[in-house]
């Protein structure tokens, strides 16, 4: 008997020696003892978002100990994630939950693979209506907005103070400020990635719309004007195209002044910045903040799994959209809290006290715009429009030519004349 207690004590101490485990290991343990395991495929490679999601899963699993557990599995970046999901269609092993952009949802609906969430989400009226409307297809709700981000203006407070300028509120002010500081510094201070996301900001705020009469139009006057602005910026020396890595990974390389980037990068920017980082709502037109592109994914539930998993997935969705979970998640990552009541939670209040800037993100979420939610959009935004923007910004083609070529490719793609 004594020996047994001694053995037990040794084992306990031994297990405590490794007690401080990573969230991933904790989840593995929880799922090995659960009856129902529902997989959640996500595209968070690392950093705060991944850790936050895993910790949410740990908390949820604790509440459902022994019965069921959610197992988040990372599949790479977002594009890798959609690749893996398409492969899972072939293999016939779709997960219970996954992250998906609206255009991915449109593709998966072609195979009628998703479970409608109308009856599943309890507090639907507490969620941000803009985000919820974006996930309605044919009137039915197919996803839960989970980690939605919105573009915001990042700026270097030290630099602005040095040149005695205020944070610009309109687009004209913005361009003028950027020009002034760039001239003084001798190098461009507006850093941007030449991709569709950045382009969308300029495009929306110059009055552009991607869908016109049900057709995708990328070479309208607003589009050409937006792209021309970026190209002029590069040529005049107040804008710098970042072609490798994220903007926050390039901070060592010169004077950063502004960027119009996703709020999801806030924790990364903070970590990388050696200067005083500030955020503000986007420069807009006529007194209001500019429209920011909504990015980030929604959670979807696949029909293909068994009933028990679907039920558990539904419960997880409700857990994750609850005010407390949203508050913690937003505080950790900089994503917009989707539940409007999340701002009442203590966690978010504390975070707002420590980081008063964060209310900018919440404010900007009221001025949000979306890209089209059609199945071909993934290919269009990366391979067609993205390439056109890169060509124009890098000086290989004029904006008009690049966009006209892109429009032709878009038309061909939608008509099935090219792949």
């Amino acid at each position: 008997m004594k020996k047994a207690i001694w053995l037990l004590a040794v084992l306990t101490v031994f297990s405590l020696a490794f007690a401080q485990q990573k969230a991933g290991d904790v989840i593995k343990e929880q799922c090995s003892q659960a009856k129902v395991v529902a997989e959640l495929w996500h595209g968070f490679r690392g950093g705060a978002p991944r850790a936050a999601l895993e910790n949410l899963a740990v908390a949820f699993n604790k509440m459902h100990q022994g019965e069921g557990c959610i197992k988040p599995i990372n599949q790479g970046g977002y594009r890798d994630l959609s690749t893996k999901i398409k492969a899972a269609f072939a293999a016939g092993n779709l997960p219970a939950l996954a992250q998906a952009f609206e255009n991915n949802i449109a593709l998966y609906l072609e195979a009628d693979a998703l479970m409608p969430l109308d009856g599943v989400i309890d507090d639907l009226d507490q969620l941000n209506p803009t985000f919820v409307d974006a996930v309605r297809f044919d009137g039915k709700l197919y996803g839960l907005p989970f980690n939605k981000s919105v573009q915001i203006l990042y700026f270097n407070r030290d630099l602005l103070k040095k040149h005695g300028v205020a944070v610009p509120k309109t687009i004209d002010e913005f361009i003028a400020t950027a020009k002034k500081i760039s001239a003084a510094e001798g190098e461009p201070v507006y850093w941007f990635r030449p991709d569709t996301s950045t382009f969308s900001y300029w495009f929306f705020n110059m009055g552009g719309k991607y869908m016109q009469d049900g057709k995708v139009v990328v070479n309208g006057p607003a589009a050409v004007k937006a792209l021309q602005t970026l190209v002029d910026g590069v040529n005049s020396g107040w804008a710098k195209a970042i072609t490798s890595g994220y903007i926050n990974q390039n901070f060592g390389k010169g004077a950063f002044g502004f960027s119009t980037d996703t709020s999801a990068g806030y924790t990364y920017y903070l970590k990388a910045a050696k200067f005083d980082l500030g955020i503000a709502t986007l420069p807009g037109n006529g007194g209001k903040p500019g429209l920011g592109l909504v990015q980030g994914t929604d959670l979807i539930i696949f029909k293909d799994v068994d009933q028990a998993q679907k039920k558990l997935a539904g419960e997880f969705i409700n857990f994750v959209s609850s005010p407390k979970a949203q508050a913690l998640f937003a505080a950790a990552t900089g994503y917009v809290p989707v539940n409007l009541k999340a701002t009442d939670e203590q966690a978010l209040q504390d975070y707002l006290m420590d980081n008063p800037d964060f209310k900018v993100v919440i404010e900007q979420a009221n001025y949000a715009a979306f890209e089209p939610a059609i199945a071909e959009w993934e290919q269009i935004r990366f391979d067609i429009l993205g390439q056109a923007i890169k060509e124009a910004v890098l000086g290989k083609a004029t904006p008009k030519d690049a966009l006209d070529k892109a429009q032709k490719q878009v038309d061909d793609l939608m008509a099935g004349r090219i792949r």
Partner: protein
Amino acid sequence: MSSNLRRLLSQILIYLLLSAGAVVMAFPFYWMLATSVKSPQEAQQAAPIWFPERVKPANWRVAARLGAEGAGDSWWGGFAPGHTIKLHVGAANPGAGKPRVRVPKPPAVFSDPRSESTRISVESGTDGWTISLRNAGEQKFTTLPLVVWIPKNSGRFKAELPPDAIRSQGQYWRLEWVNVSPGFLGYVFHNYREAWHAAPFGRYFFVSFFTASMQVLGGLLFATMAAFAFARIRFPGREQIFLLFVATMMIPGEVLLIPNYILLAKLHWLDTFYALIVPWLASVFGIFLLRQFFLALPQDLFDAARIDGASYWGMLWRIAFPLAVPGLITYGIFAFLGAYNALLWPLIVTQSPEMRTIQVGLQAFIGEAGSDYGQLMAASTMAILPIIMGYFFAQRYFIQGIARSGIK
């Protein structure tokens, strides 16, 4: 005399050129090892640091002492209940202000026992501060990260254990340690430990080794049988079937990628070991190689055996197989190398992290590690280590095998 001088000069030139080339060939390995013992901030320097902090013996002593203080383990460190770690931070003017000390919490945790059960106290001295960290809880932790803000107007500072990151934050210098109680080995191999836990590398190694071994064994079986038949059994259609095998060598793997993927999908073998092993069991290269070996064996040997009543099966395994061992080893090495180093096929047929081979796992880790190149290089070192060790054991067979495959 002059021809001797010429010979000497040419020898020197040859040595110089070869050495220069060898340096270029070997440099990435040195760089990989050096980076794997750097902290993120050390790695991210424009001018390379040839001797990172972690290879300096002075720091080893400090790390071992801190590890002993933290958990009584000066090898791997840790933070055990009831232990107190004392970290000294020297400053020119300690009276100017008191440092702020905090144990950082992982993001979005609902509760964090490590930061909650650590009691922090700071004592000022004449030459700096001593930060005491006591574990008032009941859990032992493997690492204890720390963040210390030192007021800028306290002048130049020097921490006992070099911090892993130093940043400017307003009026303060922000010092960060990933682990203030590392222990000697935990300090030097910190990146390796972190990389090992960041992704299931143990599992990746198992999958790689298992599938590579199975491919070799299975392939050996099939190839030996077929090669023996082609070499030493006269059966109708032998030449035609051999020509068919030769013709399949012309088919590039890319053509087979998608049909095999679809086939595996229909068999429900995707994301299982079958997908990683079975399609590779028939290797024309192996059949070629072993056929050469069997052809080199004398025909009388087999005639005599046949007369003595040996069956073909017996002849294959009792006579031919033992005599072809060098060829088998060559084939084994190549098949193992090919299976271990492959990326495209395992990438396509596996989905869950449990079924990733080491290469797929490393490729995924490249995305996950982001800018933490120390961890990434540590992971890369671990990935190539088995093959390099195997090479040093079986060097002769590697070289002979490759040389043999060229002379045909």
